[in-house]
């Protein structure tokens, strides 16, 4: 799932300040599951902005709507924009982008798109994947070094590891985790393999991709 989180309120208030009628658009898929873009958050943010606006006396009007998924044109077609002069999207980057593609008014992001992650528990996620375009999880026992190693290196650990912890101090060393998991799976010898540098160009060659033409760009 794509994990998102709300931008600082000050930033949002500043971004919507030039507009008078703003529609907040939530997304009932990843953003809702991230507890940042569902109906609850849309209603709360609408009310927060109304309060801020009444405090400032700007007279702006805020309304809310939620789409099942902002990243699908068919859902966006259902959106009633009426006489709004801006949209505030509570979706991930893809949602903001596709909304902006389909309307003739400015679309402002209310969220920051963080990573592709997994749920750890209530309101808690872990980054698992950076969408690099050439997956190595098969060799790294399911632990992504691109995402979970601070340096994103393919042959670790580096000299900064200390007692299993990364020198940044905020995470475990991904390469130590990979080593331990491989050992557990009796695949320790694979740790000796040196990985070739990744071809990041696969991701940047063409941002548009069509399942019917699959393989064409590889």
């Amino acid at each position: 799932m794509i994990v998102v989180r709300q931008k600082p309120l000050k930033e949002i208030v500043k971004a919507v300040a030039p507009y008078r009628r703003i529609l907040l658009v939530g997304c009932n898929t990843c953003a809702a599951v991230s507890l940042a873009g569902g109906e609850l958050e849309v209603d709360t943010l609408v009310q927060t902005l109304r309060l801020a606006s009444s405090q400032e006396g700007t007279g702006s009007v805020f309304e809310g709507a939620v789409l099942q998924r902002q990243c699908e044109p068919e859902f966006i077609e259902k959106l009633e924009i009426d006489d709004c002069d801006a949209l505030l999207s509570l979706g991930c980057g893809a949602g903001v982008a596709l909304l902006a593609d389909n309307v003739d008014i400015p679309v402002i992001p209310a969220l920051d798109t963080m990573f592709i992650g997994s749920a750890k528990g209530l309101a808690s996620w872990r980054a698992e994947c950076s969408a690099c375009g050439s997956c190595v999880l098969g060799e790294t026992a399911g632990i992504c070094p691109i995402t979970r190693c601070a340096k994103g290196i393919l042959n670790g650990p580096c000299g900064g590891v200390n007692d299993g912890m990364c020198e940044l101090g905020d995470r475990e060393c991904a390469w130590v985790l990979i080593h331990d998991r491989l050992a557990k799976l009796h695949r320790e010898d694979e740790f000796e393999t040196t990985h070739e540098p990744k071809d990041y160009s696969v991701k940047t060659k063409n941002p548009e991709w069509d399942a019917h033409a699959r393989g064409g760009d590889r």
Partner: protein, 669 residues
């Protein structure tokens, strides 16, 4: 072979609250056991938040006699309470009384909107209910009563120490405020005939009750100091002088016998003995009535059958024989005696409380072999097309609440016949299911909380007057008692359409009520839900709602609380569970909620937008928390609100206040 991917888990059949319009309705056990299905969790929740008027309105929707039933109902609801196997059942009747005590009865604007006229004969619980229902529907109703005042057995049968006239009049005054015409001191059959009534009215409903006392045909039963229960109770209720001796023997083992014995005690008898056929286990009187009678100094003698009232000029005693068994193998009444074991109870007065019968022979409808009125059990039609009958006169002796239920059925039947609207009758016939016992996991997590004891007169004091024994809860005690409710069936409901399958509900529920099916579909096990609202408060898709709670309703309550608010008005959301609220200076409006989780972030911000100077979260304290897990979520929410307001430069407009020193506190509400 296809691959089975959508394997359902074992709770498949347990989906009571699925959005399936065809599914049978689910009532909490208390509501299901109540013959009129009052929305008990609904009004208990309202009382828990100090909303007595809301509670009263919920009760009046199904029961027109809250002050009466709050005192003397035999409360089948409480036997079903799911707290029974935790500690004590909820004091549902006492809470109903508190709604009648502290709530404001609605102000009705009587307006008969229909032409049809209905006569109701008899103003006991069944008759009052019929009149209430039909007047509400818009018929012109006339209530005929043989006696000088309305109420039937409620007034003339039940002693004042259990049901004071003032309480009965409160209910009756409200019922009459619907615009019901009253004709007292009119006996139908004698003063006016049934045919005359049928000419003047489109329908006649007979709710005459059981007015005749049954006496035992034993020698000496015709002595002057041998009395029948009902005339005795009626005379006592009418405050007429009654000559009874110091030593009174009461014959009978039912609640009426208890009323008679306790009334005799209050009329000056010092030595009251109760004699009944049944063994202590078989006695039809409710256990607490027997207990209270004994505490008032009444001796209860079981398994004796009266043989003779012994006397000469006056009564000197009652001779009895040992009763061996009351019922035969088929559970029919067929007492057997050992005539060799004979005993005599000394008495100046003997009062028979050995059953009641109908007294409707002169009315002119077909009767049952026992002398009651024969009526269709579904529609309560009698042998005459436009004449209906309901209550004890049809069913034989029952509870007050059964008579009210019968009244509803009769009025639904009249409405169907006269107005062509069968929906009420259909509704009465619709079945409902209920919840099972509290699951084990939940039992381990719920703290035992005993019933709040009601203040009452000491028994040595009680027997000196007809003053009501039970004093009733204070508002505070009622709220505390109501907070013990497990909120059965008022918990989480899921909208499948809105659910994003985020699983947040599963992560926040302390009782494992939400379950997931393969495919990510959620459903809730209502048996494991205590309506704490944790899931609903966190659901990002707002797919979960609680019965009796909505954001719209909360906004409405805020609006009411902020009526005529000035620039200095502060709104305090107060947890109903806390015993002591902190004192805050200034114009503070308090909105009591069963848990502060009911006050959403959006609601707080809206309250500030609508002009409140400040919002306070008050009384969220560990020691008094009903929903310990929710407390954590309340504090997370408070942090979020504080953070948002800080970013907007309004940090001084929100505050959380917890428990403070005792001298610095005010009482709830």
């Amino acid at each position: 072979m296809p691959i089975a991917v959508n394997t359902m888990d074992t709770h498949e059949d347990n989906n009571y609250f699925d959005e399936n319009p065809d599914s049978t309705r689910v009532y909490s056990p208390c509501r299901l056991r109540c013959p009129v299905h009052v929305d008990v969790p609904g009004y208990v929740t309202a009382i828990a938040e100090g909303r007595f008027t809301d509670a009263l309105e919920i009760i009046l929707d199904r029961n027109p006699l809250p002050a009466v039933c709050g005192r003397i109902c035999l409360r089948p609801c409480e036997d079903g309470c799911r707290r029974c196997n935790l500690d004590d059942p909820l004091a549902i009747a006492a809470l109903k009384r508190s709604a009648a005590d502290f709530g404001a009865y609605p102000i009705e604007r009587p307006d008969a909107i229909r032409r049809e006229k209905v006569a109701v004969v008899g103003s006991g619980p069944a008759g009052l209910t019929v009149a209430y229902d039909l007047a509400k529907f818009g018929f012109k109703v006339t209530l005929f009563e043989d006696k000088p005042k309305l109420g039937g057995m409620l007034r003339y049968g039940i002693p004042n120490y259990r049901l004071p006239d003032s309480a009965l009049d409160k209910d009756i005054d409200y019922i009459l405020s619907l615009g019901i015409e009253v004709k007292t001191d009119v006996r139908v059959g004698t003063d006016i005939t049934l045919d005359e009534l049928r000419e003047q009215y489109n329908a006649v409903v007979i709710t005459a009750g059981l007015q005749a006392s049954r006496a035992l045909p034993i020698p000496g039963a015709d002595f002057g100091q041998v009395l029948a229960a009902l005339p005795f109770l009626e005379a006592a209720a009418s405050r007429e002088p009654i000559a009874i001796g110091k030593r009174v023997v009461v014959v009978g083992g039912g609640n009426v016998a208890m009323d008679v014995a306790r009334t005799a005690r209050r009329l000056g008898a010092t030595d009251v003995t109760l004699v009944c056929l049944e063994s202590p286990e078989e006695m039809p009187a409710s256990e607490h009535e027997v207990e209270e009678a004994q505490l008032e100094g009444i001796t209860v003698n079981c398994s004796w059958g009266p043989r003779e009232v012994v006397g000469n000029v006056g009564v000197v005693g009652l001779k009895v024989a040992r009763c061996l068994s009351v019922f035969d193998a088929d559970k029919r009444f067929a007492p057997t005696f050992d005539e060799r074991e004979i005993k005599q109870f000394a008495a100046d007065t003997v009062i028979f409380a050995t059953g009641q019968g109908a007294d409707v022979g002169d009315i002119g409808v077909e009767l049952t072999p026992r002398g009651g009125i024969k009526a269709d059990p579904d529609t309560l039609h009698t042998s005459i097309e436009d004449v209906y009958a309901a209550g004890d006169v049809v069913s034989g002796p029952t509870k007050v609440i059964d008579a009210i239920a019968a009244g509803h059925r009769a009025s639904a039947s009249v409405i169907r016949d006269l107005a062509g609207d069968a929906s009420l009758l259909d509704d009465l016939n619709e079945e409902a299911t209920t919840l099972g016992e509290v699951p084990e996991l939940m039992q381990t997590k719920l703290e035992p909380r005993r019933r709040v004891q009601m203040e009452r007169l000491e028994f040595y004091d009680a027997v000196r007057s007809f003053d009501e024994i039970e004093v009733g809860y204070t508002e505070y005690e009622a709220a505390r008692e109501a907070q013990r409710c497990l909120g059965c069936t008022t918990g989480a409901r899921l909208s499948r359409e809105k659910c994003a399958s985020c699983l947040t509900c599963i992560r926040v529920c302390p009782h494992q009520a939400p379950h997931m099916r393969m495919g990510g579909f959620l459903y809730f096990d209502p048996e494991a839900c205590i309506a704490c609202g944790a899931c609903a408060s966190q659901c990002p898709a707002q797919a979960i709602t609680l019965e009796g709670h909505s954001e719209e309703e909360m906004s409405r309550r805020v609006e009411i609380a902020l009526a005529d608010a000035g620039p200095e008005t502060i709104l305090s959301f107060a947890c109903a569970g806390t015993t002591e609220l902190p004192y805050v200076r200034g114009d503070v409006r308090t909105l009591t909620v069963s848990c502060l989780l009911r006050a959403s972030e959006r609601l707080v911000l809206e309250t500030l937008e609508s002009g409140a100077k400040r919002v306070i979260f008050a009384g969220c304290a560990e020691s008094t928390c009903r929903y310990p897990y929710a407390r954590q979520l309340v504090h997370t929410r408070a942090d979020k609100i504080r953070a948002a307001l800080t970013e907007l430069g309004m940090q001084d407009r929100f505050e959380v206040v917890g428990e403070v020193e005792e001298e610095d506190t005010v009482h709830l509400r």
